[in-house]
Symmetry: C2
Subunit: 294 residues, 2 copies
């Protein structure tokens, strides 16, 4: 096992022993695992039962966890010589009563309960601190696997038109305005009319709402106008919670009758970029990475 | 018929001939009609087909309109000697293709289309200007019937607790922040966690979403916490579009598991206050009118 650095400031790409990768659902966990292995570092997957894909994680060294089995994680990650931990993959905020609580978690319960009742930012920052207090270092999955970051410009062959760019600007302004309130990471804007703001329901559910409002004739703009705009919240714990899009986001945006999706490049994750590009072309929507302002 | 004043600045309570009251759904139109009649002024109701309650409006002088029958309104309101127009009652933003367009409306179409594609504020300000251009004066229903305004303090016997007051403050801050974006007039906040933000879907639909998220275990706070906060948007056309609550809002808030409803006093309308108070006590929620800051 390689030496474990003691510097909390170390380059996240430097070898600090194998990476412990706590895995939610979808294909992103194995994309990150492959990228890390490709960079010459060992990974140990910690797939979460009920979220992670058993078939996908099987090919890698792995150890299943229930949500909130903190003690089991700490023991096994230490045995494996891991010091760095990354989180990746889709997760559903579980009902508190459904958490499988082990002894380590039990001792943390009063603290977790306080964290749990705050907003998502509060929740995730709290989780980070708990791992750090146990001597682990949280690294962003995108830091060890920058391949998963949303690139600037178009994914697929379509590009936003002038009205779409105005809608994107409007949406970014709205998201900036609500940033201090730890609301969601997304909004739907059509012809500068805010159709939906994401909060606890998540992006997919917000898009489904727009599709339903449109079916009921409640959306003033015609189909083929409007943009899903996503951006990280200003205080977001970016190491473990960046906005993410994937092929499903594209089909949901198309079903909502939107012209496309815009997401801040370099501060968001794209799952299966080739499938996203194919879906964008098939569904005739753009997928646009918003570049840093000049 | 009484004399028609030429002053655009006249006291809205002064007699400028009978009041033309364009009526949407619910009981508010007749509450306003009764209040105006009680103040000694005549009213002519213009109920909108599909929205207004035929049984309720029958007792008053009235003339049915289809949505967007501007010409018919202008003719009949002038015949009746009306100069002041108020709008009251629930309305559903109709699909543009469903509008019954008469000749006056036809001439206005390019303008209405431009208005229609903007946000709600834009839409309503545009409607006000169209009536004003035809020599009518728009008055707020609450200006001629201040009885319908939400009072400060509690409606019903429950009062917000300290945590509720903090949630109300958080929600008001959020609504102020999104004000410039012409989003909705409401948000749901529980333990300073923003659960939902209202946009095109409306308050009832937002509350139904919170109820559904709660049923799926996606709401971190227990039932009995959280507040529906409503406030007018900063640039809102208050004469024809104030936030409104009624008994149904109370039962929807209870179904969403909230502790109560807070709405800015004097800048919002309460339909059937006695029924709201009864529903609040029955459902064990508070209904609180937020007073002006000291």
């Amino acid at each position: 096992m390689s030496t474990i650095s003691n510097s909390g400031e170390a380059d996240p790409l430097a070898d600090n022993g194998p990476l412990a990768l706590i895995c939610g659902g979808g294909t992103l966990p194995v994309a990150v695992a492959d990228a890390v292995i490709g960079s010459g570092r060992r990974v140990v997957l910690f797939p979460i039962r009920g979220w992670a894909d058993a078939v996908l994680v099987e090919r890698y060294p792995h150890c299943w966890l229930a949500v909130a089995q903190v003690g089991r994680f700490l023991r096994r990650a230490r045995q494996e010589g891991c010091r760095d931990v990354a989180f990746i993959g889709t997760a559903v905020r579980p009902p508190f009563r459904a958490l499988r609580v082990d002894w380590e978690m039990f001792k943390l319960l009063p603290r977790v309960w306080r964290i749990y009742r705050g907003g998502d930012d509060h929740l995730l920052s709290g989780v980070v601190r708990i791992f750090e207090d146990h001597g682990f270092r949280i690294v962003g999955a995108h830091e060890v696997a920058p391949q998963i970051l949303m690139p600037a410009g178009n994914v697929g062959s379509r590009a936003p038109a002038a009205q779409d760019l105005a809608d994107i600007e409007h949406g970014l302004g709205l998201l900036r305005a609500i940033g201090p309130y730890d609301v969601g990471q997304g909004a739907v804007v059509a012809n500068k009319h805010v159709l939906a703001v994401e909060a606890a329901e998540g992006t997919d559910s917000m898009l489904a709402r727009v599709a339903e409002l449109r079916a009921r004739g409640r959306i003033p703009t015609p189909a083929g106008e409007g943009v899903l705009v996503k951006a990280p919240k200003p205080n977001q714990e970016r190491r473990i919670d960046l906005p993410t899009i994937g092929p499903r986001t594209v089909s949901e945006a198309a079903r909502a009758g939107l012209a496309g999706i815009a997401i801040v490049a370099g501060e968001a994750i794209i799952a299966e970029p080739a499938a996203v590009a194919a879906a964008a072309d098939r569904e005739k929507v753009f997928v646009f990475g918003i570049g840093a302002p000049q």
